[in-house]
C-alpha cells in the first residue's frame, strides 16, 4: 500500500482522515512493513465501508487485512441503529461464524509424540472433512430448528459434549434472536447431515503444543503450560451458512435500492438495521451462528472419541471457542457514552478485555483468550484481550496470518505432495482429503503470522500469552 495520504499515529496505527462523504476515518493497525506489503485494495475497501450510514468512530482494518469482497478481510465496523446504521452480508461473509476452538489435553508433547501418527490417522477417519463430506447425524426438521435456535447448547444436551464446553464458548454457544422462519427452505435442505463436518479450504483440525509462554500469569489462568498438547478446530457454518449469505445478498441488494443507500461497491449491499430486511438477515445470520457453534461442538465430541481410542489418559478441556465472521450486538463506549452497536467482524476476532460480564468467570479477571490460527506449517498464538483494545478497535483483533498469495498462484507454484513431505521433515504430520487443497494452503502463501501478532501486541489490541506449534494437521 502506498503510504502517502496516510497519517501515521504511531508505529502501529495509521489513519486515513474522513473526507468528502466519508462518515468516519479509516484506522489501520499494522507495522510499517505490513502496511507496505498490504494490498492497495484494503485502503479502497476500508474506505468504502467508511461511507456507510450509521458507522461509528472508524472503519477499522487489522494487520492481516487483505482484499476481500465488500469489507476487507480483517475488517471491523460498528453501526448504531439509532443513527440509520446498516447490516451487510459483505461485513460478515458467507461462512457465518467461521471460527476456532482450542481444547487442552493435559498431556505433554513427550506423552503424545509416539502416538501422534496413530492419533491423526484415527481423527482423519472419524472427523468428516473435504468436498461434499457428510456427517453421522441426520437432523429432522424439528431438530434443525432446535440447533438453529439453541446452537451448541442443544447438541450438548443431546450427548455431544459436557456442560463446561458451553461455559467456555463465546455467547455460551447460543445467540438470541435466531428465528428459523427467516432461513430459506434451500438452506435447510442444504444442511442435510453436515453438522459435525470440517469442510475444506482453509479449515483444519490441528494438534499443537505450547512452544513458548510469554505471560505466565495469564497462561496459568488459561490452564496453559509449556509443552502441553492442545487441539484446535477451525471451521464454520457449512452449506447452511453459505446459503443464508447467498439468500440475503439478494435481499439486501433489493433493500439497498429500496432505501436508497449509497454504496460504493456492489458487495456492500446492506439494509438499515431497523428495517424488515435488516432484521430478517440478522435473525437468519444468528441461526447460522448457532449452527456453527453446534458444528464445532459435534466435532469436539468426535475428537474426544478419537483420543479415547488412542490416548485415553487425555482429558480434553475447552480453552475457548470464538468466531471470526460475525455481526454481534455489543455495548461499547462511544464519544463518552455507553451504546449498543452492531459490530461486524469480517475475518476479525472479538477480544474482550477484563470485567466483561459475558466472559466465563475464570476469564473475567484477565480478559478473554483470543485464538489466532496460523497455517498448517506455522505457529498459532493465544492472546488475551485488553481494555485498550476495547477503546481502539471495538475489542477486536486479527484472525490469522492473512493471505499474501492468491490460491491460483499457490496452486501453480507448489504441489500438495511436496508440501506434505516438507512439513513431515519439519515434524508436522499432515493428512488431507485433497492434495490440491494443501497446495492452495501452502504456508508461504500466507503472511508471516508472527509479524501480524507483533503488530497486535504492540498496538495493545491484545497481549501475547503463548505460542503454539503444530505437530499434526488434518485438512479437508
Amino acid at each position: 500500500m502506498e503510504l502517502k495520504n496516510l497519517e501515521k499515529i504511531n508505529d502501529y496505527e495509521w489513519l486515513i482522515p474522513a473526507s468528502g462523504e466519508m462518515k468516519v476515518p479509516v484506522r489501520i493497525f499494522a507495522s510499517q512493513r505490513l502496511m507496505e506489503e498490504m494490498d492497495e485494495k484494503v485502503r479502497e475497501q476500508a474506505t468504502n465501508v467508511a461511507y456507510l450510514p450509521g458507522i461509528q468512530k472508524a472503519s477499522i482494518a487489522m494487520p492481516d487485512a487483505h482484499w476481500g469482497y465488500g469489507f476487507p478481510i480483517g475488517g471491523v465496523a460498528a453501526f448504531d441503529p439509532q443513527q440509520g446504521g446498516v447490516i451487510s452480508v459483505g461485513g460478515v461473509g458467507f461462512d457465518v461464524n467461521c471460527g476456532v476452538r482450542t481444547l487442552k489435553t493435559g498431556l505433554s508433547l513427550e506423552e503424545v509424540k509416539s502416538k501422534l501418527k496413530e492419533l491423526i490417522d484415527t481423527l482423519f477417519r472419524i472427523v468428516p472433512a473435504g468436498m461434499g463430506s457428510r456427517g453421522q447425524i441426520s437432523l429432522s426438521g424439528k431438530q434443525i430448528e432446535y440447533v438453529l435456535t439453541e446452537g451448541a447448547q442443544w447438541v450438548v444436551e443431546h450427548g455431544y459434549g459436557i456442560p463446561e464446553d458451553i461455559e467456555f464458548t463465546e455467547d455460551n454457544g447460543k445467540v438470541n434472536g435466531a428465528d428459523p422462519a427467516n432461513v430459506s427452505e434451500t438452506a435447510l435442505k442444504r444442511e442435510r447431515k453436515q453438522v459435525g463436518t470440517l469442510g475444506s479450504g482453509n479449515h483444519y483440525l490441528e494438534i499443537q503444543y505450547v512452544a513458548e509462554v510469554y505471560n505466565s500469569q495469564v497462561a496459568e489462568q488459561f490452564g496453559l503450560w509449556e509443552n502441553q498438547v492442545v487441539v484446535t478446530i477451525h471451521c464454520g457454518s457449512r452449506a447452511l451458512g453459505h446459503q443464508v449469505g447467498t439468500d440475503y445478498l439478494k435481499t439486501l441488494a433489493g433493500a439497498s435500492r429500496k432505501y436508497g443507500i449509497p454504496i460504493r461497491e456492489r458487495e456492500l449491499v446492506c439494509a438499515p438495521l431497523d428495517s424488515d430486511e435488516g432484521e430478517r438477515y440478522f435473525s437468519a445470520m444468528n441461526c447460522a451462528v448457532n449452527y456453527a457453534f453446534a458444528n464445532r461442538q459435534v466435532i469436539t465430541h468426535l475428537v474426544r472419541s478419537g483420543f479415547e481410542k488412542v490416548l485415553p489418559q487425555a482429558q480434553l478441556i475447552m480453552l475457548y471457542d470464538i468466531g471470526h465472521n460475525t455481526c454481534k450486538i455489543e455495548r461499547h463506549q462511544i464519544d463518552g457514552k455507553s451504546k449498543e452497536v452492531y459490530v461486524h467482524r469480517k475475518g476479525a476476532t472479538r477480544a474482550f478485555g477484563p470485567q466483561r460480564e459475558q466472559l466465563p468467570r475464570p476469564y473475567q479477571e484477565v480478559g478473554q483468550p483470543v485464538i489466532i490460527g496460523g497455517t498448517m506449517g506455522t505457529e498459532s498464538y493465544i492472546l488475551v484481550g485488553t481494555e485498550s483494545g476495547e477503546g481502539k478497535a471495538f475489542a477486536s483483533v486479527c484472525h490469522g496470518a492473512g493471505r499474501q498469495m492468491s490460491r491460483r498462484k499457490a496452486m501453480k507454484k507448489w504441489r500438495g505432495e511436496q508440501i506434505v513431505r516438507e512439513l513431515s521433515e519439519k515434524g508436522i504430520y499432515i493428512q488431507a482429503h485433497s492434495l490440491a487443497g494443501v497446495a492452495e494452503e501452502a504456508p508461504l502463501a500466507y503472511k508471516d503470522v508472527s509479524a501480524v501478532i507483533e503488530a497486535i501486541h504492540n498496538a495493545n489490541l491484545a497481549q501475547k500469552v503463548v505460542k503454539l506449534k503444530p505437530i499434526g494437521c488434518i485438512k479437508g
Binding site: G90, M131, G132, G245, H433, S434, G476
Partner: protein, 139 residues
C-alpha cells in the same frame, strides 16, 4: 472461437470468467470455471439432471443467482456437476439445467469447496462479438 472459461487472481478467493458468443454461453462457461475449482468437471459423467430457475433485477445479479442456484442444487442432490446449459434468458429470468453424477474422490480429483458466488468484481457485458460474465467466488 471465443467460447471459453478462465480465471482472474484475487488475494483470498478466486475470480471466474465465462466467455461466449451468446450470453447463455458465457453463463455456462463461467459455471464450468466455478465447478472446476472443486473437481475435474471433465471427468464428471452426465448421468443425472437438475433444473435451475432463477430471477433477478439486472443481468449481473441474474448471473450470480445462476451460479448460486447451481451450488445449492448440486449440494441438495449430492451431485458433482459437469455439464451446464442455460436454456433461456427472458428479461431477467433464467431457465437452465445441469448434469452430473455423485462425486467419487477416486475419480474426480476433489479440490476446494466453493462457498458462494459474490457481487465482487461482478461484470456481465458485451465486448465486440463476445459476451463476458465474471465475478469473485468465495472459497
Amino acid at each position: 472461437m471465443p467460447k471459453r472459461c478462465d480465471y482472474f487472481d484475487h488475494k483470498a478467493d478466486v475470480g471466474i470468467i465465462g466467455i461466449g458468443t451468446t450470453l447463455p454461453e458465457a453463463f455456462e462457461q463461467a459455471a464450468k470455471a466455478m465447478f472446476d475449482l472443486m473437481y475435474d468437471v471433465e471427468k464428471v459423467k452426465p448421468l443425472e439432471e437438475i433444473q435451475v430457475e432463477c430471477e433477478a433485477n439486472n443481468p449481473e445479479e441474474l448471473f450470480v443467482e445462476w451460479l448460486n442456484a447451481l451450488l445449492a442444487q448440486a449440494n441438495i442432490h449430492e451431485l458433482g456437476l459437469g455439464e451446464f446449459q442455460v436454456k433461456q434468458i427472458k428479461g431477467f429470468q433464467l431457465l437452465g439445467c445441469a448434469k452430473g453424477e455423485p462425486l467419487d474422490p477416486q475419480r474426480h480429483n476433489l479440490r476446494t469447496e466453493v462457498k458462494a458466488a459474490t457481487y465482487a468484481m461482478l461484470k456481465v457485458e458485451k465486448e465486440g462479438e463476445k459476451y463476458i460474465a465474471q465475478c469473485v467466488v468465495d472459497v
